[in-house]
Amino acid sequence: MPGTVRDGFVASLALVPSVFVYSTVFGGLAVQAGLRPLEVWGMSLLVLAGASQFVAVPMLAAGASPLAIILTTYVINMRHYLMAAALAPAFRDFPRPWLALVAHWINDEAFAVAVARRNPPDPWFYLGSAAAVGGAFLAGVPVGTQLGGLVADPTRWGLDFAFPAVFLALVAVQLRERADWLVALASAALAIAIALVLPGNWHIIIAGVVVSGVAALVLRPEPA
């Protein structure tokens, strides 16, 4: 379904400038921290999870233990468990080797765009979305490693706000019934409360699991 792939790609274009700028900043910071361009690009291709890479680079530069860096990466990326679970029903007709490949391209932005369109999403739409986001990320990194420290602070242009803006816009279009509002508001409140006391990404994982889990126990499932 190439048409649906293209729809997913186009729907995600709103994110491409910000993802590109952020990965450019990442590339610049990483070479300034002493990594070689090939290492920076290799990390981006193999890990493909921006937030954890931003945290890992200064740890590497400061000589933190490999185990500490790897564990931190794992904790920051644990939110993927939730996205993988929510995406799984969309890919039931795909052969398993494909799934093993698709898994690598699970990210916040493509997930948000695809589930806001349809939940569970259209798998081809998701792949188009993941291609736009992943492509922008991987294209920005080598630009950043070449520019080094020349890249300006993205907060100056408000580009840091593009990420919460997209997440918020995509939850807004999903709010149809009263139960949807309750889940979204409860999760927002719990996530803020946790973020005030726990560092890292725990608020996403805890609020995501607890609120969706409690709601799934309380609400009535639709007939199959």
């Binding site: 794992y74 918020l168 969706s212 126990l217």
Partner: protein
């Protein structure tokens, strides 16, 4: 080739893949019970606000919800435009421009 750096990168890649692949592979094939399907459908509704709101309202462990905080107004703009079903690209562009302008004024 710095082996130590590449070993860290390989470790990061492995643990990150372990957050992505297992549930995608495990839950894709089998028919799921209705309550589990309901849970999977609710995950985005819980995860997206949990991603977005702390990015807007929490800065280094402190609540920043004052009217002088530009992202707060950006969030209001996003919510109104998205609620009116304005195109995502336009919504994000307007909100980003507004946050940038408010920061320049402030």
């Amino acid at each position: 080739m710095r082996t130590d750096v590449w070993l860290v990168i390989a470790g990061m890649a492995l643990v990150t893949y372990l957050t992505r692949a297992p549930l995608l592979l495990a839950l894709a094939r089998r028919p799921l019970p209705p309550r589990l399907r309901l849970w999977l459908r609710l995950i985005p509704l819980a995860v997206l606000p949990a991603l977005a709101l702390p990015l807007i309202l929490v800065d280094q462990g402190r609540l920043v919800a004052s009217p002088a905080h530009p992202p707060l107004w950006g969030a209001v703009i996003v919510f109104v435009l998205a609620g009116l079903r304005v195109n995502l690209l336009v919504t994000v562009a307007v909100a980003v421009a507004a946050v940038s302008a408010l920061r320049a004024l402030g």
